[in-house]
């Protein structure tokens, strides 16, 4: 409910008074064509963008996806601290993690059981779309909540090559569809960073230090 406030009416009255006589007519949505240079090879471009924005990209196939994910988790979860990995509860991730060697399975927390907590050592999620132009990953609250893709020091994303879209334009169409159900979406481009100190780039400001993308063919 909107909090009734008198200010609202006064502001609206002033805005209306200043309103253009012309009818509401948003100019055509600005699409990438004409503004951005065309992309020659989408996959190559995506790889280049990921390298530039420091996303660690691993291209995997059905045969080695599970091993690769297992290795990454073993690497991210130090044996000593017992920090859990939060995992989006999705069939594909269940399948990939089914054969995880001990003691790692005990450290998995499925999103159906718990929201991501401050103790997270890693988070594993899916993506809504991947953007070639900028090497970006679109996620939503569907991947285990808002914190799933930001709180853990390592964020591992599993996605399929078919999810690649060339431009932000298409990713925003996907975002529009997601926004009907999700209260938060985020277009992620590389790991968290800051340049606030003498303009020097430091990765891992408040979000993940590492962003790892497993791209399945």
């Amino acid at each position: 409910m909107t909090d009734a406030n008198a200010g609202r009416e006064r502001i609206l009255a002033r805005l209306r008074a200043a309103r253009a006589a012309a009818p509401l007519a948003p100019p055509p949505a600005p699409h990438a064509a004409g503004v951005f240079a065309p992309i020659a090879d989408p996959l190559v471009r995506f790889q280049e963008e990921c390298a530039a924005n420091r996303t660690e990209l691993y291209q995997v196939d059905a045969a080695n996806a599970a091993t690769c994910l297992g290795d990454l988790l073993a690497q991210a979860l130090a044996p000593g601290d017992g920090a859990p990995a939060y995992v989006q509860d999705a069939p594909i991730l269940r399948r990939l993690l089914a054969a995880l060697p001990p003691p790692l399975p005990a450290r998995l927390r499925w999103s159906s059981e718990a929201a991501v907590g401050g103790d997270a050592g890693a988070a594993v999620t899916l993506a809504e779309a991947l953007v070639v132009r900028t090497g970006s990953i679109l996620v939503s609250t569907a991947c285990g909540g808002r914190a799933a893709s930001v709180l853990a020091p390592v964020h591992i994303v599993y996605a399929e090559a078919a999810q690649l879209v060339p431009e932000l334009d298409q990713a925003l169409v996907a975002a529009r569809a997601c926004a009907a159900a999700a209260s938060m979406l985020c277009l992620i481009t590389g790991p968290s960073r800051t340049s606030d100190i003498e303009k020097k780039l430091v990765l891992g400001a408040h979000g993940p230090r590492r962003l790892v993308l497993l791209l399945a063919r």
């Binding site: 200010g7 509401l24 007519a25 992620i188 606030d196 003498e198 979000g207």
Partner: protein, 477 residues
């Protein structure tokens, strides 16, 4: 001391510090190079600017309709929208929300609007601990300073100064003074705050009308944490930040990044539509958007200057401004500094207090050239000067000089005689000792600059002599 005098003094002090200017410029030049690189990613940067300008103009032309649509969608998802006429109304509303939830700890991400309404002091006064979480903001908050630059608040500080500050305030170990170590220290110090706070406050970069979404752009992830972890999330934003549709971000996200930090796109571009939905695992139970007017609707009515509201706060105009290069952000003594500050502050804070900022410009136009939404910045500065003059708030001596000059120049003969007298006076002055000294009437000029000897003959005198006695080609040799 009045604001203008204060500005002159702070500006002169900063202008005398060449070492600091070099440091500041080195930082801003880094942005410049990055921005140039990012612009090259566009096939047609100028077309991108045109479209941004067009979309923003439409958003402003029907601002009421777009805001209502935005409100409707946010409310439909269970969010609250509050329309704040003034800074005080915004503060009171947010304080009310905090009290209702018994909030003792608030985490904030970077928001210039919160500086504009002086939100943090109000929260602190009510006994609510308020922590800035953007690294740069965190640093200047520890120093009890306002942000130095709207995008990069602590750019004026050297690593050593930040290390000393962290040792003093956070108990960081001495010697931990690399950028990595310092950022790490801040991350650790802020982690617990994120997890403990009851309320998070963020700004907004764009309000998407059609879909009812708040778009927040950042690199660090702190705004994401502020909007994910606490029970309540409050967005405080100017009501002008509307874009008609989600699709518009396909242009505005890369443009904002290119113009601001010179990135191809910023690390995190979040879209938030409301509180946690029934199916969702986390996220705030309550979601509030505070739309601040505080003079913006009046600016909207001003056709001549309406485009000022298109500003996306990218900071590009500061980064290229020679005056900002020389004096930095604090000397302005205003929430928004640099060219956009000089244009906006008199509108938001009154001609009386901030009118003098319009004169803090050489009118070089670098800001207008850099602005991604094509705001007519340097001409707005002249318009602000015009209004200051019309309101009788112009610079008095300058006014006399200009009026006298205009009177002389209204008549060629009068003008010519005056010119001859002027040249004679300048010649007399030259034989007096102490050029540039305290007694030199031309000291504002001559203190730092020599003045060449005035010629015996003006151009028009030469011309007349020459045309009277043809063929006088090269008679001036």
């Amino acid at each position: 001391m009045n604001a203008e005098r204060q500005f002159r003094r702070a500006g002169a002090r900063a202008a005398a510090d060449a070492a600091r200017q070099d440091f500041l410029r080195a930082g801003l030049a880094g942005y410049g190079h990055a921005a140039a690189g990012a612009r090259r990613r566009f096939a047609d940067w100028s077309a991108a600017r045109d479209r941004c300008q067009e979309v923003k103009a439409e958003a402003l032309a029907h601002l009421d309709a777009y805001l209502l649509r935005f409100e409707e969608r946010v409310v439909a998802r269970g969010g609250h929208v509050f329309w704040a006429e003034t800074a005080a109304a915004a503060r009171d509303y947010i304080l009310g929300v905090a009290r209702r939830h018994g909030a003792r700890r608030v985490i904030k991400s970077k928001s210039m609007v919160s500086e504009e309404v002086r939100l943090t002091p109000a929260l602190e006064a009510a006994g609510i601990a308020t922590v800035e979480t953007d690294l740069g903001e965190f640093i200047v908050q520890l120093r009890r300073e306002p942000p130095f630059h709207i995008v990069t608040p602590a750019m004026h500080l050297r690593r050593g100064e930040i290390a000393a500050l962290f040792q003093r305030e956070l108990g960081a170990p001495p010697g931990a003074d690399s950028a990595e170590e310092l950022a790490g220290a801040a991350r650790r110090a802020l982690r617990d705050q994120f997890l403990a706070a009851e309320m998070g406050i963020t700004g907004a970069n764009f309000l998407i009308a059609e879909e009812g979404l708040v778009a927040i752009t950042e690199n660090e992830g702190n705004a994401r944490l502020c909007s994910s972890l606490p029970r309540v999330h409050v967005v405080l934003t100017g009501l002008e930040k509307v874009l008609p549709r989600l699709a518009d971000l396909g242009l505005f996200w890369p443009v904002l990044a290119a113009a601001g930090t010179g990135q191809p796109i910023t690390c995190y571009n979040s879209l938030i539509g409301g509180p946690r939905q029934p199916e969702e695992r986390d996220g705030p139970e309550e979601f509030h958007v505070v739309l601040l007017d505080n003079g913006r609707s009046a600016l909207l009515a001003d056709r001549e200057r309406r485009d000022t509201l298109a500003c996306i706060r990218c900071g590009a105009c500061l980064n290229v401004c020679p005056v900002f290069h020389t004096i930095g952000g604090h000397a302005y003594g205003a929430t928004y500094s640099g060219p956009i500050g000089a244009v906006l502050m008199p509108q938001l804070g009154g001609l009386e207090r901030f009118g003098h900022l319009a004169f803090a410009s050489s009118l070089c136009g670098a800001c207008t050239e850099a602005c991604p939404v094509k705001i007519d910045l340097h001409r707005h500065l002249i318009r602000n000067r015009r209004d200051a003059v019309a309101a009788g708030r112009g610079r008095r001596r300058e006014g006399w000089a200009v009026r006298a000059w205009a009177w002389l120049a209204a008549d060629p003969r009068r003008y010519q005689r005056a010119g001859a007298v002027l040249r004679r006076l300048l010649r007399v002055r030259r034989v007096l000792p102490g050029e540039g000294g305290m007694l030199d009437p031309l000291r504002p000029w001559t203190r730092a600059r020599a003045l060449p000897a005035p010629p015996a003959e003006s151009f028009r005198e030469w011309w007349r002599r020459r045309t009277a006695a043809p063929p006088a080609r090269d008679s001036h040799d």
